[in-house]
């Protein structure tokens, strides 16, 4: 088995083709780096990942006399990697037989440690020390690495370069030019992942800057990723800028609900308000990045127009209702409608519900009568799948590295599987929309009201009893008798199934507005169960009832 030695610790690499940074990570040893990123080409220019490399052969370690960039140096059987952290290695592991001529000049790890400190000193030569007003402070790699690997004092006494900022770089992104450390991750991203190549390096030497061509700003649907990629506070998202200090944010793993790709995200919240979404690396879902539709697609959660409490139409106007009075009333009215004609009652379950919510709501309605029908809510489809990278003509290029899907809903497959299991057939919303119904429960949750409005047929007549649960005002809620507040994708727990059938758990990142009762809780109440719903037990129930989720 091929073995690599990282700070004397042997680690088996198998058949993987790794560089020193990756091999060290396998051994649990972090090698700091800026320009290196797994999804981008290697340029080995930041010189932060410098390590000492050698070979163990016939019981002798031959070290190369100079430091090497770990990101660019491949490992093979017998490679010896010594990082700058060698002095902090596990003392229980026996030391390798280093060549005395090598250790005489400097102990192992000393060269790498010095070189890394020198690189950091270089990076700070022209970096403004404006951390107190920098948005990146707290999650800045330059801060972190300087603290961990750098010098404590600056020897630079001269005037720093202060190139002007570039807020015109993009409508969504601003560039604090002086903070840039020229790792060129952003440039490589626009060239290799989005393919749109808006960003470039201009100037030479220490007057180098990131810039765009005049009149060709950074505008593409993946542009927001450059902010995530930026290791320092140079590229800032205008959406998030100066909204929060990052150490106040609580980060929860999330799943994007803006298209059927179902990208893994980090949801950054403070006091139940979502402030930012970032990409979370998940090779099973989307990889490293997310699109801007998803990234900035959280504002509906904080929208002023959002329904935050249940309302009932009284004399043509919506009046707030307390849940304690409303719930028995809803049950009674639904019961009456089912009693009169169960075939005239339909529950519409939108593809924005989690599989658990769809399951529990469906179960609740089927419990009223087996003849009550469950329909799949309108599935918004906008245009065609948008594939990246693109060439200069805007055509997608193989191999595709990112897809923004036309289907703008996160869980069509999950809801469909639930519906198929509960009633054996799949009824789309369009087929029940033409019928004259007596009652309809519309469980929506559409973050983009226009998507839903576009899918409601022109001559659609609302049933006499329309209970619409949604986030924002739509044509559906306008004609409803009762409007119930819905929860956003950040406020619920459950499972989304993406376009490829990948089931992704969705933890709750924020609590919904206080008077909102989540879909799962409501279904729980309709079923006559008491107390608070336990999402985990519903997931188990779902797995037991629907083989697809087993």
């Amino acid at each position: 088995m091929p073995t690599v030695y990282v700070n004397d610790t042997p680690v088996e690499i198998g058949t993987k083709r790794l560089n020193c940074v990756q091999a060290a990570e396998l051994a649990g040893q972090f090698v700091p780096h800026y320009c290196y990123h797994e999804a981008l080409s290697v340029v080995a220019s930041c010189r932060m990942c410098l390590v000492e490399v050698g070979d163990l052969k016939d019981g002798k370690v031959t070290m190369q006399p100079k430091v090497l960039p770990g990101c660019q140096t491949p490992v093979k059987d017998g490679t010896v990697i010594v990082t700058g952290e060698y002095a902090k290695r596990d003392p229980a592991v026996p030391a390798l037989p280093y060549d005395p001529n090598y250790t005489k000049a400097a102990p192992p790890g000393e060269r790498a440690k010095r070189a890394q400190a020198d690189t950091l000193e270089g990076l700070l030569v022209n970096h403004p020390l404006d951390c107190p007003v920098c948005d990146k402070a707290g999650e800045c790699k330059l801060q972190d690495f300087s603290y961990k690997y750098g010098r404590s004092e600056s020897r630079m006494v001269d005037v720093k370069n202060t190139p002007p900022n570039k807020p015109q770089l993009s409508s969504t992104i601003t560039l604090f030019t002086d903070r840039c450390i020229m790792c060129t991750r952003c440039v490589r991203f626009t060239r290799e992942i989005s393919g749109t190549a808006e960003l470039q390096v201009v100037g030479r030497g220490h007057h180098e800057e990131i810039d765009v061509f005049p009149g060709r700003p950074l505008e593409n649907k993946l542009a927001g990723n450059v902010v995530d990629l930026c290791p320092v506070g140079a590229l800032g998202s205008k959406d998030f800028l100066y909204k929060q200090r990052v150490w106040y944010l609580k980060t929860v793993d999330g799943v994007c609900n803006r298209c059927s790709t179902g990208c893994s995200t980090y949801v950054d919240t403070n006091k139940d308000i979502v402030y930012r979404l970032r990409a979370r690396h998940n090779p099973a879902a989307q990889g490293h990045f997310i699109c801007d539709e998803g990234r900035y697609g959280y504002h509906h959660a904080n929208a002023a127009e959002r329904f935050v409490r249940p309302v009932a139409k009284v004399e043509g106007r919506f009046k707030p209702q307390p849940w304690s009075a409303l719930l028995p009333q809803l049950k009674a009215e639904l019961g009456a409608a089912v009693g009169a004609n169960p075939k005239g009652v339909v529950a519409v379950l939108s593809p924005f519900l989690t599989s658990e919510e769809a399951f529990l709501l469906g179960t609740a309605f089927k419990a009223l009568s087996a003849d009550v029908r469950l329909a799949l809510g309108p599935v918004p489809v906008v245009g065609t799948d948008d594939k990246y990278p693109k060439n200069v003509k805007g055509e997608p290029v193989e191999p595709v590295k990112f897809t923004i899907r036309a289907e703008k809903a996160p869980n069509r497959i999950g809801v469909e599987e639930v519906l198929k299991a509960l009633q054996g057939e799949l009824i789309p919303f369009a087929s029940v929309a033409g019928e004259s119904l007596s009652a309809m429960w519309f469980a929506g949750g559409y973050p983009e009201p226009s998507h839903l409005d576009a899918l409601i047929p022109a001559g659609w007549k609302a049933p006499a009893l329309l209970i619409a649960q949604d986030l924002l005002p739509t044509a559906m809620t306008a004609s409803a008798k009762y409007v119930l507040p819905a929860t956003t994708g950040f406020e619920k727990e459950g499972t989304f199934v993406n376009h490829s059938g990948y089931k992704q758990p969705l933890p709750r990142a924020a609590r919904p507005p206080v008077e909102t009762r989540g879909e799962l809780q409501l279904a729980h109440d309709l079923l006559g169960r008491t107390g608070l719903v336990q999402p985990a037990s519903v997931t188990k129930e779902l797995a037991a009832a629907v083989p697809y989720f087993a």
């Binding site: 340029v43 070189a115 020198d118 001269d158 370069n161 202060t162 030497g205």
Partner: protein, 455 residues
């Protein structure tokens, strides 16, 4: 008996750049003969055996480089001619290109035949307008005469030469920087390996050779290895890694000399002889203080520093072969462009000038070089304003020591060249720097002291 120039034999003739004149002097007979009688491998072997080392600066054996090409490659293989002669005070390639372009072009033909390349890219730096025009008309003459293109000289060997004019950047002289620039990209040197011989221009095997090297190839193939090896310095028997310094070399003299001149001499002339005899001595009757033996990046020698173990001799007496400058702490022979600095010039000014150059020309890819060259410029700028601190010298030496491909902190050698003059100047003339810092005197050349690095 004075040495009879070979590479520069024709440069003083009227109309030396014309095809007619070159052919009248026996030009293109060598390539015609080689195409008829020899196999490509024979040419490679002969050049390899001649001991020709690249004249561009690093002194890598030329024939050996050619053998690094992948065996039986289906092609295309490219030759890039490096005429981005940007090392300060270097102008030997320029004379060859302007005055005797056909000698170089014949060398290209020979090299292309040897490496089985059917296309050569001639990368001329932007600033060499006259060279560009001379080469352009020479290449047009060759095409008109049917000596380039399909089946040259009645053989079945095809060759095209593409003349490319750069846009003016020092880094384009680095071989992979040149290739990137040729491909239309920013001239950011590539990470090696893969070396250009394996994957170079347009991702094909590529050999990059200097103009003077190719002119030498012409003469080697014309006159043979015996002639070539009769000139220069044989390998040092005590040093197994020394490949010797054979052949003629174009030395250019610049700076404070009476006669700034480009002379052709056998390798191994001493700096003293070059300056005193061929350059007519230091100007205005002054004495030399420091000498830059081979382009700025090689560092400085202290004319008055005694050589160890050589009675009465000083660093002024080191021979200009591939090993000589290295013995006194310089980086190497470089481009053999000797720059003289007289005893009335402040080393602070010299160093500031050097730092300005390298800071301006750093491509900015690797952090240590980008920030290091800029920082050194700011410090030397402060020194010449009389605002130096004594710790500045240590910082300069430390930064000069730690940037470069030798300590492993950069991709290319530019910053080795940026650090070397700084550390050699400070190590060899420390007293002068310390005195300047202590006196707090402003530089007399600094009429307008714009702040370095500030926008």
């Amino acid at each position: 008996m004075p040495y009879e120039p070979v590479l520069l034999a024709r440069v003083t003739k009227p109309g030396s750049g014309k095809l007619e004149g070159y052919r009248a002097d026996g030009g293109y007979e060598t390539i015609a003969r080689v195409l008829k009688d020899k196999q490509p491998l024979d040419v490679v072997t002969q050049v390899k055996d001649s001991g020709l080392r690249g004249r561009g600066g690093a002194g890598f054996p030329c024939g050996l480089k050619w053998t690094f090409l992948p065996k039986d490659h289906p092609g295309p293989i490219y030759l890039c001619v490096n005429a981005d002669e940007s090392e300060p005070c270097t102008y030997n390639n320029r004379i060859l290109m302007e005055k005797d372009p056909h000698q170089v072009l014949e060398g290209i033909m020979l090299a292309c035949y040897a490496i089985k390349s059917q296309k050569a890219f001639f990368y001329v730096r932007y600033e060499y307008g006259d060279s560009y025009r001379a080469l352009k008309s020479a290449i047009e003459e060759l095409y008109a005469a049917g000596m380039l293109g399909k089946g040259i000289f009645g053989s079945n060997f095809d060759l095209d030469i593409v003349l490319h004019r750069g846009a003016g950047a020092y880094i384009c002289g680095e071989e992979t920087g040149l290739i990137e620039s040729l491909e239309g990209k920013r001239a950011w040197p590539r990470i090696k390996p893969p070396f250009p011989a394996v994957e170079g221009a347009f991702r094909k095997p590529t050999i990059v050779n200097n103009v003077e090297t190719l002119a030498c190839v012409t003469q080697i193939m014309k006159r043979g290895n015996e002639w070539f090896k009769s000139l220069g310095v044989p390998p040092d028997p005590a040093n197994p890694r020394d490949a010797g310094s054979y052949g003629p070399k174009l030395y250019t003299l610049a700076g404070h000399v009476e006669k700034p001149i480009c002379v052709e001499l056998p390798m191994g002339v001493t700096i003293r002889e070059l300056v005193e005899v061929h350059g007519g001595g230091v100007w205005k009757g002054r004495k030399a203080k420091a000498i830059n033996p081979g382009g700025l990046s090689m560092g400085f020698i202290d004319v008055n520093a005694p050589l160890k173990g050589a009675d009465g001799k000083t660093e002024y007496d080191i021979p200009l072969d591939f090993n000589g400058p290295g013995r006194v702490g310089c980086l190497g022979l470089g481009t053999a462009a000797v720059t003289v600095i007289d005893d009335q010039t402040s080393m602070v000014d010299v160093l500031h000038n050097v730092c300005q150059f390298f800071s301006h020309e750093s491509c900015g890819q690797c952090t240590p070089c980008r920030e290091g060259t800029g920082w050194m410029l700011k410090i030397t700028d402060r020194l010449r304003r009389g605002l130096g601190r004594k710790e500045d010298l240590d910082i300069l030496v430390e930064v000069g020591d730690r940037i470069g491909i030798m300590p492993g902190t950069t991709i290319c050698g530019l910053s080795d060249g940026a650090g070397w003059p700084v550390k050699t100047a400070i190590r060899k003339f420390r007293a002068e720097f310390e005195a300047a810092i202590k006196s707090g005197e402003k530089s007399k050349y600094a009429k307008s002291l714009a702040l370095a690095g500030a926008h």
